[in-house]
Symmetry: C3
């Protein structure tokens, strides 16, 4: 294997069918590197949501928190966050803290050895000598996946978790969103201690995505996961220029998911069981094209509230600008700050799963919370 002649990350990835890519990232039919939303089948989604819910229940007591902290106190993680991020970074950091994982970070390549001319491949290989897990956020599509293959080729057993790559994938965000939707649609059962996430709570539900759907990787990744649930319906509300990409629509069609387009938010609010707001991703503008768009038409306002379903879930991956009226913050249907905390628990669950301590969590839960 001569690295000099190897195709670019994107070429390698484009050349493989998704099923093959998924298989390469797994070991013994279990996810090893967490790179693509497509890696999560229904069973894995169920298992991880349940694990996250168990962990937050365990964390209600000091004793439970101290149990969690011992689970992976022998592991050490690298948060390699080359793309600016506070929220996702701290979510993973908090997840590591919960599990007792020591971690450190590379965030600002300008203070690092990279300025001495090293390739980023070498950097990641060096990091893999120091740490047992690499969590990576990177502006380049496919970089995390390529690095996963590189470390495998070196016979290292270091899992990589993709914390967001380019405009493409953000699988942990998709998982926290699915978890949030489960907790909204199944709230009564979950609050009663029913931790069965295997049922299809999405059947007959309408999920409305609003905003910059073309460039937000969040929506892409979530759409892949929602297709696991027959009977879900999606509405994509966006300015023409920022509508959802055709490849996602083809994916939905292939999976028999009903969807529709709209450019009028107020017309679809009343039918929605969840409204997923997003901000303008103008950091991806090439020539300031976002400035020409009247994004105010894609705001959720307090005036629309009377039309909301009583159990609506209002979501946003944050950060928000003014896409959601601040008056809605105290509406119990606002779930965007809950999403934040759900993300921390989902990430903690994923890390526990990757390191095979999920069984220990389940044992602890069952011996302390069995009814």
């Amino acid at each position: 294997m001569a690295p000099e002649s190897k195709p670019s990350a994107q070429e390698t990835i484009d050349a493989l069918p998704t099923a093959k890519r998924v298989a390469l990232l797994n070991r013994n039919d279990r996810i090893f590197h967490v790179i693509l939303a497509q890696q999560f089948d229904r069973e894995t989604i169920d298992r991880l949501c349940k694990l996250a819910e168990m962990m937050r229940n365990i964390a209600e007591t000091r004793q439970g928190l101290q149990f969690l902290r011992t689970l992976l106190s022998h592991k050490r993680a690298m948060l390699y966050f080359i793309q600016p991020s506070t929220r996702t970074f701290l979510s993973f950091a908090a997840a590591c803290q919960i599990l007792g994982i020591a971690y450190d970070e590379v965030r600002n390549p300008s203070v690092s050895s990279e300025i001495k001319g090293e390739t980023e491949d070498d950097t990641v290989r060096v990091l893999s000598q120091y740490f047992n897990l690499i969590i990576m956020r990177h502006p380049t599509e496919g970089f995390a996946e390529q690095m996963a293959h590189d470390l495998d080729a070196l016979h290292l057993s270091i899992p990589i978790i993709n914390g967001g790559s380019g405009q493409d994938q953000h699988p942990t965000q998709a998982m926290l969103d699915i978890y949030t939707l489960h907790r909204c649609f199944g709230r009564t059962a979950i609050e009663r201690g029913n931790l069965d996430f295997s049922q299809n709570r999405f059947e007959g539900k309408t999920i409305t995505f609003v905003g910059d759907l073309r460039r937000g990787r969040t929506v892409r990744s979530l759409a892949y996961l929602l297709c696991r649930y027959p009977g879900v319906r999606m509405i994509f509300v966006a300015p023409q220029e920022l509508q959802i990409s055709d490849d996602i629509l083809e994916y939905l069609a292939r999976h028999d998911v009903a969807y529709e387009h709209s450019d009028d938010l107020s017309a679809v609010v009343a039918r929605s069981d969840a409204i997923y707001m997003t901000r303008l991703q103008d950091e991806y503008d090439i020539a300031g094209e976002s400035k020409k768009i009247d994004y105010d038409r894609f705001r959720l306002t307090a005036e629309m509230a009377p039309q909301f379903k009583p159990d609506l879930a209002i979501m946003h991956p944050l950060p928000r600008r003014n896409e959601i009226d601040r008056q809605l913050d105290t509406d119990p249907r606002a779930r965007y700050f809950h999403q934040v905390q759900n993300g921390m628990w989902m990430r903690a669950a994923m890390i526990a799963y990757v390191f095979h301590v999920d069984a220990a969590v389940i044992d602890h839960y069952q011996s302390h919370f069995a009814h």
Copy 2:
């Protein structure tokens, strides 16, 4: 409660009497958010100094250090330090380490989501989803206090500790200064293991403040605390333009504290029991006005040493420039590096207190150090 219509942080604060502000920051007559120096009454000062002293005694052994590390090993803290700071940041970080608290930081907003247009209110709310404590240093007066009220309104139970806000308050610095003065004036008793901080060691003492008294929040906050001790006397030595503000003098007058002004340091050195030096706060200059001031007249020099009282305490909140002759560094009356370490212990004591583990510290101390 419509956040859109809410008054600015400063307006809210100005509108309330101090007693009301203090009450809002407490829970069950105990400090919950640590925001204002005025929150500390004599009993609380006593209690925290004693706690800090106990902790540093406990920390003398490896076993004691390991006891301290278990106290809050189930808690996680965010150090939100938007205003540049190394010293105060690391003092809090070390305090967290001593108590076993996992922490992370937000220090450089330019690498964070804020650049994507988020309001700082949203940022702090997000942080409150991940962490159990927020320690905050911020350039805006009143911001920490406003955030404390915001988190309360969201029914979160996340204490905020003010690590310095604008030119206004720096309550943990004031507490470490009081603690340092106690340790200087009561050194013999404390070294003998007498941990009673309830007596008034300040009666008849003269504390001389020197330098940029108008713009240094340190002096403001400490003056509030010293007023708890009847019989203390203050001398304010500063250039005309940088003399202590009238609101502080009115506060002293209301509390029957004797004070005087001077612009001649050498004239008051001999009468001082403590000399509190400060640097020029020229980062708050509007148009370089500091350059016109002859600050050399407000230096403590080795030539003044023969006039010093034998038990004088020379203090400085650091960083210093040339306000104190380096030759004085090895004089046993120089207490500024001791202040640094006292600050770490005082902050550890405050965090222990906020999380209600002070009783556990006292128990441990009494069972290991009882005479």
Copy 3:
């Protein structure tokens, strides 16, 4: 002792013979501050290599990792890395994590109090109030050594470890390189569990150094250590302008070490037992002089591989540019990524030694791995 009149760091250091400098950095004939490669005699090298090897064996199990984490969980460290570095920083950070040491960092002085005009002496003194160990990387030669003396003069018992100072010393890199060479030359014995590092594995071996030998502190520091091993031979392959300094050659001559010069890599490859590649240190260029050098002549290429000895060790302190053909990365003789991990273990061993927990490691090893 009047600090005002004290000579500059470099003057102080130049004035003292090495033996005196070494003695000042030791306590009770044991290294206290780790500053100079010359501090390491054969016995200490042996002891530290053995300790590193024991620790990595202990770390093979979860239980072993958890034992290591308790060793220094009562200590706290400051990583004061003023010179940009990712690799060395993270190597020390990982070493601290392995030993359970809590740490924090100062890396970017622009966000710190230094901008308020503090001297760096004051900064380090402040840090010494918060932490039990200071690990320091600094652009100024002799700074770490001077700070060690400063802290001693203040009767503080805070060890300093030099993580690289100017163009001069990088003792922990030299130690990890020696350890790597030991592991290459003695691989069979070590893999069989023979942890005796006291024999001279370097007798009759030829170590070839290639590249920018004048400005790389790595080679300087390693040369000092190799002189401890009679019978080693060195070849220095470099462009004329970047050849090894005369002071090193004099040192080698004084220690009866055979050496030769070359500017033709391909001519000496076949005779080499280890080839130590280095990159161009053009950050030390004064006027872009490196651009005139044809550095391609100092590359190790895949075409040279047929000439390699079967047990050759190819080393590089990293980061590399194109000094080593990427095709060689998968050659088992490529040891540069192993060096990285060896560095983490060697640094962990050094910290354990400095804090006198080496005996505890040896005890644990002997009770778990005795044959």
